[in-house]
Amino acid sequence: MSNPEEIFDPQLQLYEKRKGVYPKAVDGTFRRLKWVIMAVTLGIYYITPWIRWDRGPYAPDQAVLVDLANRRFFMFGIEIWPHEFYYVAGMLVMAGIGLFLVTSAVGRAWCGYSCPQTVWTDLFQHVERAIDGDRNAQFRLQDAPWGPKKIAKRLSKWTIWLLLSVATGGAWIFYFADAPTLARDFFTGEAAFVAYATVGVLTATTFIFGGFMREQVCIYMCPWPRIQAAMMDENSLTVTYKDWRGEPRGSVKKAQAQPGSFGDCIDCNQCVAVCPTGIDIREGPQIGCITCALCIDACDNVMDQVGRPRGLIDYVTEEDAEREKLGQPHTPVLKTLFRPRTILYFSAWGAIGLAMLFAVGNRTRIDISANHDRNPLYVQLADGDVRNAYTVNLRNMENRPREMEISMSGLHGAVLWTNEGLRETAGQNVLVKVPADSVGRVRLFVAAPGDGPARKEFKLTVQAKDDRTAQDTHDVFFERPEIAE
């Protein structure tokens, strides 16, 4: 960090200018892992909306679709209605607990590998290196005066960034509408304004966050590092510089001159050079470290070159670090992975998942609800009967139009009909056609003899004609005048 003299620099009293980070290219196990994860996550993000899924003629054929206009959420074989939003809530809870689980086991793995901020920043840095050259060339270019060459490089870098940003923002909107149609409309200028606005906003945030803000987002804006710090304990893996092995630092030459008085760290600064957040891991664990493990790769390469054992910087738990200092062997991996904390997270995660699977498998796709007219509660009819009216909602959650039968039970001598039927021909049940995947609303009239209890509960039942097992019941009241005259 800054040294004390700098601190009293009056400039620094008020604000701190971002110090540029120019990470060096590196190769190694973790770098390759990051490539794979980047390919997979970006692949999922860009390809998902284009996967098709046949749901028949009455529903969209997009595998994953958040249909805001019709308030439906499609995910492969599952369709979620607004009143079932608790499934989405459940998935979010699972995502949360899943993150806790991962964090307590392997530390800030989310930050280091799969957070969009990390993935896109990584991508942008590769572009930067391709245009401007590696770390040192970037330093030189930064300090060089503006001239045709610098302008050309900057413009081409920003253009590529911008294209990547547009593609990022552009892909997002395809989750909310039929992708092929929207793609065509988007380029012919016929898409909704909100589509362009969304792409615009996401392009801007991607461009700024990935191109310029980078580690500032992690250090100042994101709440997650603070939360993760609380999720980790002495058994969580974290990137650690083994100071007990590395210190005191000294170059290979010095070590040859005075054998035995220096540690393994040759003070080559490679771990700092490759760090995407520009920190020095040798100062110990810190909030700026996203545990991307690139310094492990860099240091391993150096150790290979100077012929010292790898792993001067390594994934180690705090507890193992202590044991290693005392010369004891590490705790077995299985023991650090399966400890009460992780088992608890995993059970909670699994229980919610199983409960949701069970609930999804057992949900009925038909539903009735009835609102009794409040004013008037009942209507006296000329022939002495009394009529009550209800607004009935019939949910057809299947992707086909269905004929449904509403019937009643528990009301003596009653008949029912809808606003399109007539009392004269009314019977014990009525048929209603409800279009595919929608709510049918009918006004239901029920007439019963006037001599009966002032308030009587009875049942309205809906049953699908094409599947007698699909049914739902709603309890309602029938009201009558207290006693005539």
């Binding site: 601190i7 008020l14 809808t418 399109e420 009525v430 279009p435």
Partner: protein, 329 residues
């Protein structure tokens, strides 16, 4: 306090100089972009204050150079909605009311419009749920003094009931049998007994037998030989369970002695034809509406057509249902 300012060793950052029970605070400089963001929001705020209403004054507020106001916004959206609704109003007025039930979408729009208009113009007498009260008919039930099909309801709405100086208004006047000395008080009691027997409120008695004779002579002209009323004169059916002024002895005595004279405004004078048609459709939809015999077939055809896309339903055997309808009402 400033003398306590020092550089924290672990972080290399200056402290602010305060100390509470050994707890000190680091004076970490803010990132520069954060300050820029702060300045940007301040500039945004100033621009907003200039453009939009912002500062409260004693009786008003600064208006902002854009002249925007929430009331203006509201009026604009109402006007825009009016423009949207205009085609529906046009279509409503130009459709033959006998065929209105043949276009379910238009009918539904009319019902919804009527629901709103009813709350403004009609609830004062008929109540929010159109259930009426003594002297003000319940529009939900299946008894109609002047007719309950669309045409009859619309006529009543346009011309009103017992409007002075309007030739087309619905008009009739029941004699005040007691006040005008046509019947003696004891005779009135006999008529009352008979009327209560007609609607099953009383067992036949000597009084009601005498009343039957008086009824025959004085009342059947309007209420009919079977006492089922006459809609051309707004004479109510006396044999059913519904009555406008009550079937208890006191109310009936008052009705026969002094007569009743219910009035309703003629809305044709005050409301435009589209609104009246909406009110008609709404009142008709409340549950007691009667069909017009002439449009039976049309009804069926169009209903079949919409079955596919709208939520429609049919009472089982509704075909026979619709044709048998009018006789009974």
């Amino acid at each position: 306090m400033v003398d306590k300012q020092r550089v924290d060793e672990a972080t290399g950052t200056k402290t602010v100089g305060h100390e509470w029970d050994g707890i000190e605070e680091l004076d970490t400089p803010m990132p520069r972009w954060w300050l820029w963001t702060l300045y940007a929001t301040i500039i945004w705020g100033i621009i907003y204050v200039i453009l939009y209403p912002a500062w409260p004054l004693v009786n008003s507020a600064t208006e902002g150079v854009l002249g925007w106001s929430s009331r203006g916004e509201y009026e604009k959206s109402v006007a825009a909605r009016e423009v949207e609704l205009e085609p529906i109003r046009q279509a409503l007025v130009s459709t033959d009311i006998r065929k209105l039930s043949g276009s379910p979408e238009l009918l539904q729009a009319a019902i919804e419009g009527g629901r709103s208009a009813f709350k403004v113009h009609c609830v004062q007498c008929h109540g929010a749920g159109a259930a009426g009260s003594k002297g003000y008919p319940n529009l939900n039930d299946d008894e109609w003094l002047w007719g309950g099909d669309m045409e009859a309801i619309e006529y009543t709405l346009i011309h009103g009931i017992r409007n002075p100086d309007h030739p087309d208004t619905r008009f009739s006047q029941m004699p005040a049998f007691g006040r005008d000395g046509i019947l003696q008080p004891n005779e009135i009691q006999d008529v009352v007994s008979h009327v209560r027997v007609l609607s099953g409120r009383e067992q036949p008695s000597a009084s009601s037998a005498r009343g039957a004779v008086l009824f025959e002579a004085n009342c059947t002209i309007c209420h009919g030989n079977d006492a089922k009323g006459d809609r051309t004169q707004g004479a109510p059916n006396l044999t059913d369970a519904i009555s406008l002024y009550g079937l208890d002895r006191a109310s009936l005595t008052e009705t026969v002695t002094n007569s009743r004279y219910g009035v309703m405004p003629r809305w044709g004078q005050r409301l435009d034809p589209a609104t009246i048609r909406m009110l008609t459709a709404y009142v008709h939809s409340l549950g007691g509406g009667e069909t017009l015999p002439a449009v039976e077939e049309l009804n069926e055809e169009t209903l079949e057509q919409v079955n596919g896309d709208a939520v429609t339903n049919e009472a089982e055997q509704s075909n026979t249902a619709r044709s048998g309808q009018d006789e009974q009402s």
